[in-house]
Point group: C2
Amino acid sequence: MIDKILKDYNVILASASPRRKEIFSLIGITCEVVVSDVAEPITDEDPALQSMRHARNKHNEVAAGCDENDIVVSADTIVVLDGAILGKPRDTREAISYLQRLSGNTHTVITGICVGTLQNHRCAYESTQVMFSQLCSTEIEHYVATGEPMDKAGAYGIQGFGSQFIRRIEGCYFNVMGFPVRRFYDTLLAMKQEDII
Amino acid sequence: MIDKILKDYNVILASASPRRKEIFSLIGITCEVVVSDVAEPITDEDPALQSMRHARNKHNEVAAGCDENDIVVSADTIVVLDGAILGKPRDTREAISYLQRLSGNTHTVITGICVGTLQNHRCAYESTQVMFSQLCSTEIEHYVATGEPMDKAGAYGIQGFGSQFIRRIEGCYFNVMGFPVRRFYDTLLAMKQEDII
């Protein structure tokens, strides 16, 4: 299991997301948080490649200051609806507009991760389908007023008030929360197999 | 949203599960916990009907002591693999055997809920498919040693160490955690439509 594989390393989480920190704690991993300030510009590139590139950029910045006993883990979560990427909303108006677009539709959540040292690291990604219920304007207003959408890609959080809007998902739940636990485990197993951790 | 519908009621959660209490807190519902000691015998009855019957029995016992301003909410979660119901493991040996059976297979998690007063209540259920990765005996032993499987139907918890074993789900995540949030919301909306809450 993940805690066994990582027991001889210092784990450094290169992310400011409290949700990722919470997931690490759920699986018994104590980690230090070191936040990178790499920008994550949204481009026309394939979303999966884009999420891995963002994750690798964050990883490289943080790993550059670490030693070989540190395992740096970074992640980048992207919400894709009909080919368009929905980032973190800039203001409540954009949050309302994003939620109107998600309402009654299925979108994709992709998280890219990058794991290892500066020299030896691997990238991977996970993709999950998320089906939203039909939202009325009162629900959207009430939800935006909670403040929950404002710091989240796609303007919703699956693990809070937003849980009420999710009819079903297909794939990894933790990926939608911001960190694909099983994909991370598979990546670590592959790195162990390659003898690089 | 759920908190708006329930704002004039005392919400009573007829369940000892800390995970259900946590879900209520995630969606902003303050509730009182009143635990029923109704037995939940596993029978040959259809699992969905069985989960709703268990939920209704717990509901009725607790609701009998409540007044009309109380909304009692109960739930019962059942894990079904190849037609067999896996309850809470009696000991670590049974936990190991359940995890061996879940390994590499897809099972179904069904949660029945019952909501309302003694006179006016509605039952519903939600069903989610859960795909487990292939587990080796070391992983199973390590997991059982964490103690996490012992108080959970099917001998695993999706929201803790067990998250590492889940390759994907199809349906509601919160249902697997023990309480189907969206189904609960739909049930409340239907009850409001019927004018019984």
